[in-house]
């Protein structure tokens, strides 16, 4: 897989330090599942955390802290011996379409989802998450369709899962991520023969402009 659009360095560091909220973290983790370069980049950012950990001032642990831990471990060891051969259940298996971190939320298929039409040529599948103030959803945009021009109310991340689109920034194919801040205005056109499916996290409702834009509002309506 050849990926041309990667995470912004500031986002890499936010991910590494645990600063991204759940919706954005899912988009980033899904991109990492598809992008070796960004996996390596996150590892480097996490190494900053490793250095910081070794330089953090120590805080005294309570009396008997290791004893308590040791007892929990003994209990686990006993259990392991009582139930030999019992393996931990393996995690959901990633399909060709759906990266592992996303498959925990939507399962392994993009085609079996309850897509809802928002405007002609555009369907949405909203992913409910408890721990986020942002929105996470999938968009399916028909071939040749144009998303209406919109400025961003806040940070937005878009990961392409199928098909492709182009905008002023360039061409976005499967695995590419558009990691945009609030200043970017763009108008993606789907240029793949089939529909383009992307995973989107937005910090605030995206503001669409004009009459078409108002029609598009249900896309992100909170």
């Amino acid at each position: 897989m050849s990926i041309h659009h990667h995470l912004d360095d500031a986002s890499l560091v936010r991910y590494a330090s645990g600063d991204l909220d759940a919706a954005f973290a899912i988009v980033v983790a899904s991109h990492l599942a598809m992008c070796g370069k960004c996996r390596e980049a996150v590892r480097l950012a996490e190494a900053m955390g490793g250095v910081c950990l070794t330089e953090t001032p120590e805080a005294d642990l309570s009396q008997g802290a290791f004893m308590r831990l040791s007892q929990r471990i003994d209990a686990e060891l006993d259990k392991d011996q009582a139930q030999p051969g019992e393996q931990q259940t393996s995690e959901a298996v990633a399909s060709a379409d759906v990266p592992l971190p996303l498959s925990h939320l939507i399962g392994g298929s993009l085609d079996d989802l309850a897509w809802r039409h928002v405007v002609p040529g555009v369907q949405r599948y909203r992913i409910d998450m408890a721990d986020t103030q942002s929105s996470l959803y999938l968009l399916k945009i028909g071939s040749g369709r144009t998303m209406p021009e919109h400025g961003h109310g806040g940070t937005e991340m878009t990961l392409i899962l199928r098909g492709s689109y182009s905008d002023v920034i360039g061409k976005f194919d499967r695995g590419d991520i558009a990691d945009l801040d609030e200043h970017v205005e763009h108008q993606p056109v789907v240029d793949s023969t089939g529909p383009c499916i992307c995973l989107v996290a937005t910090e605030e409702p995206t503001r669409f402009k004009g009459i078409v834009g108002r029609l598009m509002q249900p896309l992100v309506g909170i």
């Binding site: 912004d8 360095d9 500031a10 890499l12 560091v13 936010r14 991910y15 590494a16 330090s17 645990g18 600063d19 991204l20 759940a22 973290a25 983790a29 990492l32 599942a33 598809m34 070796g36 996996r39 390596e40 980049a41 590892r43 480097l44 950012a45 996490e46 190494a47 900053m48 955390g49 490793g50 250095v51 910081c52 950990l53 070794t54 330089e55 953090t56 001032p57 120590e58 805080a59 005294d60 642990l61 309570s62 802290a65 290791f66 308590r68 831990l69 040791s70 929990r72 471990i73 686990e76 060891l77 990633a94 990266p99 592992l100 971190p101 925990h104 939320l105 998450m129 408890a130 721990d131």
Partner: protein, 199 residues
């Protein structure tokens, strides 16, 4: 060996590298022979620092103690998953501490933060490049961080030691968010450059 000892800087570096080797062998003793004395050594070394981080990030004493237990238990359980060629022990423990803290804060049982080595779609074995990175990472990153201007280093410390969000850092330092982001980018770029120079 004696020659090395006479020079101050290399000694510190050599000691750190030797120390990394010790940490890695402790982990491998835990993984392979469920060695509790190795585990205790790791606990003594990292437990108080993990607690220090949690307290700095705003956790109460009780919550911080609890998180130390969680982090150490995860280390015990997952010791066999640690891949030395991917990075050093303190980085691995940092990510476990980060995830434990997020788990504590969240209500939904969905892991948004992943071990970057376990998510890839295709099976990509660590190549020679990442292996070299893993061995040298710790010292290069530390050295690069030591040379950062204070204004960049402060932002990194707030982000990683106190788990402070970039938006919060901006408020605390009374800076525009864009300035915080560009300091983060500069710091990260410095690290990357230092690493690439050695390839």
């Amino acid at each position: 060996m004696l020659k090395v000892l006479q020079m101050e800087k290399p000694t510190a570096d050599a000691a750190r590298i030797a120390d990394q080797a010790v940490l890695k062998s402790l982990l491998s003793d835990i993984a392979l022979s469920r060695d509790k004395s190795a585990f205790e050594a790791l606990f003594v070394r990292f437990g108080p620092r993990v607690k220090g981080m949690m307290i700095k990030s705003g956790a109460s004493n009780d919550v911080a103690e609890d998180l130390v237990q969680e982090v150490m238990l995860t280390i015990w359980r997952k010791a066999s998953l640690y891949a030395p060629e991917r990075g050093n022990v303190s980085t691995w423990i940092f990510t476990i501490a980060r995830n434990a803290r997020i788990d504590r804060l969240r209500r939904q049982p969905v892991q948004a933060y992943v071990d970057v080595d376990t998510v890839s779609l295709v099976c990509d074995a660590p190549n020679a490049e990442t292996a070299v990175m893993g061995r040298q990472n710790a010292e290069i990153v530390r050295a690069a961080m030591d040379t950062l201007p204070a204004e960049q280093r402060d932002v990194i410390d707030l982000a990683f030691i106190q788990f402070m969000p970039q938006s919060e850092i901006a408020k605390t330092l009374e800076l525009p968010i864009g300035t915080v982001k560009s300091r983060v980018r500069l710091a990260y770029k410095k690290l990357k450059q230092n690493l690439e120079e050695l390839r």
